[in-house]
């Protein structure tokens, strides 16, 4: 065990992945609770596909992937909220359109430029080798911004999530706060998908929230519990992935699934007692 920790720290790419991953796990846990409660779970999934498209295009054009993907995904988040708010196209349908279109654009761009290579595979399923040190700086900075904004607006975010109409009546700009949640989610997804992969990142957002809602009675408890569950699952998932030489993203998801099932069992036992 101690040996494993020692080797873990001696590889700088592992350490980088761990630092960024823990921060992303924390961000996605915080935002995930709001998204699940607002019935926006699918936004995470949709945005990750947009991020895949943006990364493929920027790779083909030779731009730095994060700097292109972050603004594009934020724009997509903005559009998704606008579309569902206008009610012209239903929210879930809008997400399906945007996500599959960007996936398709990403795939076409890649096959025209270099063909399906290892990079694309990494974007799909994640890789702990993907982070360069400049990526780490951007990721850490973004995660800190997400966490700080979430704490600062915590009470308003609660009010808007719990009862949007009442919040609006008390003079809270609910549109602005919804947008804040969507933009923070966009940032979290772009940063997290390097490690987790476009196809797996949304589970990082949804699992911890659902898990803690199995036993949580208050909003604060659910937020705290979700953060702890998310960070522990991420660290455990990384360790398992290292120990068994399996992909990190997949191993984090399976760890989350296991904890979710345990919490479900706890709830059943509590109900029966």
């Amino acid at each position: 065990m101690i040996d494993m920790i020692r080797t873990f720290i001696s590889y700088s790419f592992l350490l980088r992945a761990l630092v960024v991953g823990v921060l992303v796990a924390l961000c996605s846990a915080l935002l995930g609770v709001c998204l699940v409660l607002k019935r926006y779970s699918m936004i995470g999934d949709g945005l990750s596909h947009v991020a895949f498209g943006a990364l493929s295009v920027s790779l083909a054009l030779g731009f730095s992937p994060l700097q292109v993907a972050i603004p594009v995904v934020m724009l997509a988040a903005f559009l998704l909220l606008r579309l569902s708010a206008n009610g012209k196209i239903k929210g879930d349908a809008a997400i399906a359109i945007i996500s599959s279109s960007s996936l398709a654009i990403g795939v076409i761009t890649t096959s025209l430029s270099k063909g399906m290579n290892l990079d694309v595979f990494h974007y799909m399923f994640g890789s702990i080798l993907a982070m360069s040190s400049s990526d780490v700086y951007i990721s850490v900075a973004l995660s800190v911004v997400v966490i700080v904004l979430f704490i600062v607006f915590y009470n308003k975010i609660f009010a808007v999530t719990f009862d949007e109409l009442f919040a609006k009546a008390t003079g809270i700009n609910t549109g602005l706060h919804n947008m804040l949640i969507a933009l923070l989610t966009a940032a979290t997804i772009v940063v997290g998908m390097r490690i987790m992969g476009a196809l797996l990142i949304s589970s990082l957002i949804i699992f911890p929230a659902l898990t803690s809602m199995r036993i949580g009675k208050s909003f604060r408890f659910v937020i705290l519990c979700s953060s702890i569950v998310s960070v522990i699952c991420f660290a455990a998932g990384m360790a398992i992935s290292y120990g068994f030489s399996i992909p990190a993203g997949a191993s984090v998801v399976v760890t989350n699934l296991a904890v979710f099932l345990v919490f479900n069992a706890l709830r059943l036992i509590k109900r029966k007692a």
Partner: protein, 235 residues
Amino acid sequence: MRLLECSNVNMSYDNIQAVKDLSFYVDQGDYLCIVGENGSGKTTLVKGLLGLMAPDSGRISYIGIKKNEIGYLPQKTAVQKDFPASVMEVVLSGCLNRDRFKLFYTKRDRIIALENMERLAISGLAGKSFMDLSEGQRQRVLLARALCSAKRLILLDEPMTSLDPVATADLYELIASLNRECDMTVIMVTHDVSTALKYAGKVLHMKNSPLFFGSSREYAATEIGKKMLGADIDD
């Protein structure tokens, strides 16, 4: 003292004119019931009063209060039942309008929340989860939240829907006592005309444009009032 005055208000949504040439006023200490069938423009009027929708023409003026200082109890559908929130968290969220830039609750907010829970006899529920409460308890919690954000006026939108008869009677008594003892002005949108008339001093009957506005005693004597009360008894 006058709190709220609507003069010649017209409101519409999706090209449907929901409120037509409506004028009425609310004085401090009033208990006003807004009645009317489905689609008579009540909900649109509520949005107008709360400042969530601007009138096409006419004026809604507030005297001595701001529009975000109306304590609002939304219709039942607006609040999710399976939301993990403690009663204290819900009630405190009513205090957020006290300062536009308020980010964190102060000690004073907590005192206000506790006082309002005391008023509604739900202090014992503070640590409980909102989703574990009965319908009647939930309405009390949401009413406490409304009182936290209210300066002198509360606006209740169909508060009795889905309550059982005992809980309904309790809530009517509670609202009446807030009106009498705490000098809280009440506007209530309701279907239940006959019970509402027992407590309300004034009635506004809408069918997009106002059919009646005046005291509930006068209303009971009018043709339309008799019809509404009669229809209620027939049910």
